[in-house]
Amino acid sequence: MRRILHLPYDEEELLAIEAGDEVILEGTLYVGRDQVHRRLFDALGNGEDLPFPFHGNAIYYMGPSPALPGFPIGAAGPTTSARMDPFSPSLVKAGLRVMVGKGPRKEEVRQSIEECGGLYLQAYGGCGALYSSCIRSSSVIAYPELGPEALLCLSVSSFPTVCIIDPRGVPFTGRA
């Protein structure tokens, strides 16, 4: 089924999503990958302030290529989610419940999603130019020293994904 998820999300729209649904994202999407995850994880552990509110927001695993003149961002497709697996359960439990990336997740991540009513969406891997065209604006909000790995805030529109783990922890495997 095709659904729209407005970001920041409200509970009702989030909970309606089921594994295998094609989910279109509209609104604000935060971006962070490997090094950002390490830093968010450490910030939680040390009780430090977080660079953006976790509750209601989604994080996209991505590191863009440089923007061409006249565009807000360069190619901007998902990176492999599995590398975030060591950090994700802690972040989900701290309120960062909606994740967008590509590829399979560890069982611990699925469990944290089931426990907290989270969501794991897959964006189409390698489709950097396609996702670039779904991004209206991009700004660095933390860790600029990480270059292409900095923490970004995007405004997205008609951003296509597939639900791989729904808020009840049900996975989509694609296998009959």
Binding site: P66, A67, T80, G103, Q122, G125, C127, G128, F172, G174
Partner: protein, 278 residues
């Protein structure tokens, strides 16, 4: 005798242009394989449709098709009778790649110290270069823009010398099964067999530029990969793999090295040939 600076700069511009094009437009045979893929099952049709749209946008906007514009990997095949200095070859490769990263809006994806500081080099350099001597007088530079989602799924196995064809196929399929949806399937596979551990790994990348040495093995690995039904995007169905090329060379009586390089569907590569040397 070395070439003058101006000539070398002109050669570097050829490299630059080929690399920028490679980041935006797939080689004809790769594009044809995606265009004709009979996607079915799982989310195969949606994923392949997204890939085709993506390719169209990248071409129209002159934008890299994937944000991971990759590590520069280069095989410099130098004719045994080419009139060339190897230092000039290196210079042309590094300069051409540096210009491509700058002018093609490539992501800077290379860090200096791999273990500790991981400081970005800021240039996407160095290019990872291998050299080989070949017949003739040309210099041919074969480049991969190697994304690391797929490279992280690449691997080497040292098989028993008696493992045979079945053992080779099983090893490659096991490596691919472990990769699952991570390398952005449908994938292209390079398989290197023989030599030493490092030679097998090298051959598994060279394979992307050569016709397969072993049609039977290629076919069996392709069928085995598609039987896994990992599917486009790892979301089930067909196809899981679009192409398999095998390169072999002699090896030791005690071993059978088998290396697999996994390439995502965005099999970005370029070859530049300089007649008679640089």
């Amino acid at each position: 005798m070395g070439q003058d600076r101006e000539t070398l700069h002109r050669d570097a511009l050829c490299v630059r242009d080929a690399l920028i094009r490679a980041s935006r437009v797939l080689p004809d045979d790769t594009e044809a394989a995606i265009a004709s893929a009979a996607a079915r099952g799982g989310k195969a049709e949606s994923v392949v449709a997204a890939i085709r749209t993506n390719l169209q946008i990248a071409r129209e906007k002159g934008m890299p098709m994937c944000q991971d514009t990759g590590a520069f990997w280069c095989l410099a095949s130098i004719g045994r009778s080419a009139d060339v200095r190897i230092g000039d070859v290196e210079k042309v490769i590094q300069e051409g790649a540096a210009l491509a990263a700058e002018e093609g809006f490539f992501r800077r994806s290379i860090v200096s110290d791999p273990v500790r500081s991981r400081i970005n080099t800021g240039t996407n350099l160095p290019v990872f270069i291998s050299y080989e001597a070949v017949d003739g007088s040309d210099v041919e530079l074969s480049f991969l823009l190697k994304g690391f989602g797929s490279e992280n799924c690449s691997s080497v196995r040292m098989l028993n010398p008696t493992a045979g064809e079945d053992g080779v196929v099983a090893a490659v399929i096991e490596m691919l099964e472990a990769a699952g949806g991570k390398p952005c399937p449908p994938v292209f596979l390079g398989v290197g067999i023989g030599g030493t551990m490092d030679r097998a790994a090298f051959l598994s990348k060279k394979a992307f530029f050569r016709i397969t040495d072993d049609e039977t093995l290629s076919r069996r690995i392709l069928d085995g990969a598609n039987d896994l039904a990992i599917g486009p995007g790892g979301l089930g169905g067909f196809p899981t793999a679009l192409g398999v090329s095998v390169q072999t060379e002699p090896t030791h009586i005690a071993g059978l090295p088998v290396a697999l390089t996994v390439n995502c569907w965005a099999e970005r590569k370029a070859a530049v040939r300089f007649r008679g040397g640089l």
